[in-house]
Subunit: 332 residues, 2 copies
Amino acid sequence: MIRQPYLLFLGDAPDALAVKVARGIRDWRPDAALGQYRMAGCNADVDLPDMTIREAREAGAKTLVIGVANRGGIVSEAWKSVLAEGLEAGFDIASGLHNLLRDEADLVALAERNGCALHDVRVPTVQYPIGNGQPRRGRRCLGVGTDVSVGKMYTALAMDGEMRRRGRKSTFRATGQTGILIAGGGVPLDAVVADFMAGAIEQLTPDNDDDHWDMIEGQGSLFHASFSGVTLALVHGGRPDALVLCHEPTRDYMRGLPGYRLPGLAELRDLALTLARVVNPDCRVCAVSVNTRELGEREAADCLAKIEDSLGLPATDPFRYGAGRLVDALPE
Amino acid sequence: MIRQPYLLFLGDAPDALAVKVARGIRDWRPDAALGQYRMAGCNADVDLPDMTIREAREAGAKTLVIGVANRGGIVSEAWKSVLAEGLEAGFDIASGLHNLLRDEADLVALAERNGCALHDVRVPTVQYPIGNGQPRRGRRCLGVGTDVSVGKMYTALAMDGEMRRRGRKSTFRATGQTGILIAGGGVPLDAVVADFMAGAIEQLTPDNDDDHWDMIEGQGSLFHASFSGVTLALVHGGRPDALVLCHEPTRDYMRGLPGYRLPGLAELRDLALTLARVVNPDCRVCAVSVNTRELGEREAADCLAKIEDSLGLPATDPFRYGAGRLVDALPE
């Protein structure tokens, strides 16, 4: 686990898009981030107090999180002096960049000297078991998409947030880099060795209270030729009791797959349910989460009504309208 | 690629089961193995001439293949003097053992000094691409199973052998350790990082002549909770034109999954076809390959007749009756 609270490092971010990771942490775990660190020329802001390394340390921050991405996902030389100052002050550092902190000899030496941890959340650091397919106590919900990048992480986080607001037991279970930084831990599933994918997800979603829900972050799509195997490992390793269908209604072709049309929601429902019931015959598809960002108010409402009508399932956009209807739809 | 022909190292094998890998190479690529090397106390024999390192070298063998497995899959100290002699004589060494040749410092030093390669076929040695889902020229056949270990590799090898006997263009595409040693190359799919599974299989089965068939070695099962993600990556990365259903009719529960009943063949047919058609709408299920080892002659014939009757597909046991009916069933 990554120690919280964080100081979010925005570096020399050229724009808001470059600090998507920091924004995600700020939005979903406001208590986990005490401040932001911006270098000269930074054009981004995630609405947290600006802090120096020393101020953040005194305020109790424990980990410096690289909340900025640059082209190529490398650890920029321009950042090094700040990262070094952080390590000297006793901060751990966490990063989801493609290039790893552990491959930067200067940072490794400093971390060792100061007894600090370097967390590269893009790669697994533990040996996962082979999946055993056995039932666990507690309940699990998984988002499955008609495509990649349709809002599966957002849906899981929003449902987890709504559950907590209602005083119900829930844990967001991260399976990707951003999710892991938000949650402080998780499984970087796309980097796990094939044989251990399902076992990693079983380990991520262990026995729990009978009335506790794991809100598992989905990955890929069963219909996406590049990543479908990752998705099926989530369905079988996660052993969901409830599936939420995730969809982006304006996309013509699947992302990264020219010529591939998106499947229909009914097609996704049938395939995902068939596969989920291999491990959990009681699994149900309970709702549809629609990313309506590209639609106006009226269009969004029409789109949701049409989906509800054709599938007979509650449909909403948790970003636009909150996740209440999704949580209401969870089985008893 | 691993250089052929081989000298098969049987070491101090306690029994025939321990040399399954060597037996597979002997059976499927008789031209690829010139001889066998047996240490004192070896209780196995794969019906090849016994050769010393020197004799094998003079006969033209290029790679010493560890065709024996011991408990734990380790490189036994007792074998070291022979392996060292092989390297001194200029042999490459290939191994599918769990413990890697490259982790044995003495062997690595000797290999370097003599300019020899150490092939650990259990782990990938190249960086695979992300799958792109695009069609390739040529045809592809994949075996999918009701469970793991039901004869998928055997089926692909037998179909490939039958195709060649008929003078047709065919290549066995290995996706597991034993298959890779038999073919001299392939993808150790269970050890590939999740994101690259489908891309690895696309790379393994590239553009080819229009009348060429890749006979792709299947892995896992879509119904096996531990490994289903690996299987789906094969279905989507392999983009099969033809699926052969593989089954073992006497098994009550899935291997390694107590409490999980095997799916029916019709269930497997429908699910595998639905998934395969995501990438190739023309894919067909063409035949059933049944492992009848546990059945007598009469029982086996009855079992096959019953399956043919209920599915309306040709069914045979390629070990017992040859792969002719499977090859006959391939689409035009």
